[in-house]
Amino acid sequence: MNIDKKFRREAPTETRQSLGVYFDREDKHLAYLDQNRKEHVIAEKEGTVNLELGTDAGSSLVKTDTTYNFGGVEYDTYRLRSWAFFNTPNTVQIAELGYIYISNGDMFIIKNSSNIEAVDFNGNLGYTNTPLTPEALVDDATDVARKISTIYLNQDNAVGAFPQNYNFMYIVGFDAAAFECDVYIDVEFIVEKGETVEFVVS
């Protein structure tokens, strides 16, 4: 029995207004039908994300289907993902991800779902996973997770003599004692609709 198609048949009609969410196997997306039987896509099925390897990290930038309209100004949304592994303990850790060029205007990060993974084998056992915040858990040679002083995604568009259209992207972390951790960046940012966006992995 094709469960997905069964759900689709039971999606809302003009007389039955309840929300019926279904997964379309052919187009690989999650959607529902409104009272006019118009399809609304809720989420695309995740495909393969190719993280291009750079000096300190592997990164990917894709344009999403989401657009925003704020007071009549429309924005496109892009999603940046990067993985960086700080495996050598140090009090300062910096990973260069690359630069993002915006043809006009600024980029604004509006969502941050980034994660920090640390080893806690000799603490509460296993691994810790905490959001990328100034109090994220990291580890060191003792294999006990502890809070870091600060770690964050750094968007720097005031570099040297380069115009502000070039956003240099780094992961920056520092603490009084040496630390190590794995960082998984997953953020979304907006630019004004129609502007050209280019990401060059470093």
Binding site: T91, G105, A141, G160, A161, F162, Q164, V200
Partner: protein, 145 residues
């Protein structure tokens, strides 16, 4: 309270948000030399003044134009834009009106990919060195190697 009187953009009409600098306002009356009537700071691409207003115009004279001069000073290590003077052949904006924008030209040519990647790496090194001064490796950790 200081309020914005004009903003600073680049040639593409984008507000230069990180820009720090200074500004001067000059008025020109008929049969007189152009004279500076105000000066102040630019913070994050915005020039502001007490009350958010341009200096009053001397109504007893014939006003010709006002000139806004912007001189970028930073942020630290940043030197992407050249200074610029904008001359407006009109009376200055009244209190509450914004004085438009001054468009700064970008210095030099469009950077190459190689220049940008080098800039990215150089910036990483300078960030690391600055932070390492504040968060040095302890002698015990250094001994561990």
């Amino acid at each position: 309270m200081e309020e914005r009187i004009f903003k600073v953009t680049d040639e593409g009409n984008t507000k230069i948000k990180p820009l720090e600098g200074t500004y001067e306002i000059a008025y020109k009356y008929k049969n007189e030399e152009e004279a500076k009537v105000a000066e102040g700071l630019i913070n994050r691409g915005e020039a502001s003044a007490i009350g958010g207003k341009f200096p009053d115009v001397d109504a007893s004279k014939e006003f010709e134009y006002y000139a806004l001069k912007v001189t970028p000073t930073g942020p630290k290590g940043w030197d992407a834009y050249a200074s610029k003077t904008k001359v407006v052949m009109a009376l200055p904006p009244k209190e509450g009106d914004k004085g438009g924008e001054v468009k700064l030209p970008v210095k030099g040519k469009t950077p190459t990919k190689e220049e940008l990647l080098k800039g990215l790496k150089d910036r990483k090194v300078s960030k690391y060195e600055e932070l390492k001064k504040k968060y040095p490796t302890s002698p015990m950790e250094e001994a561990k190697g």
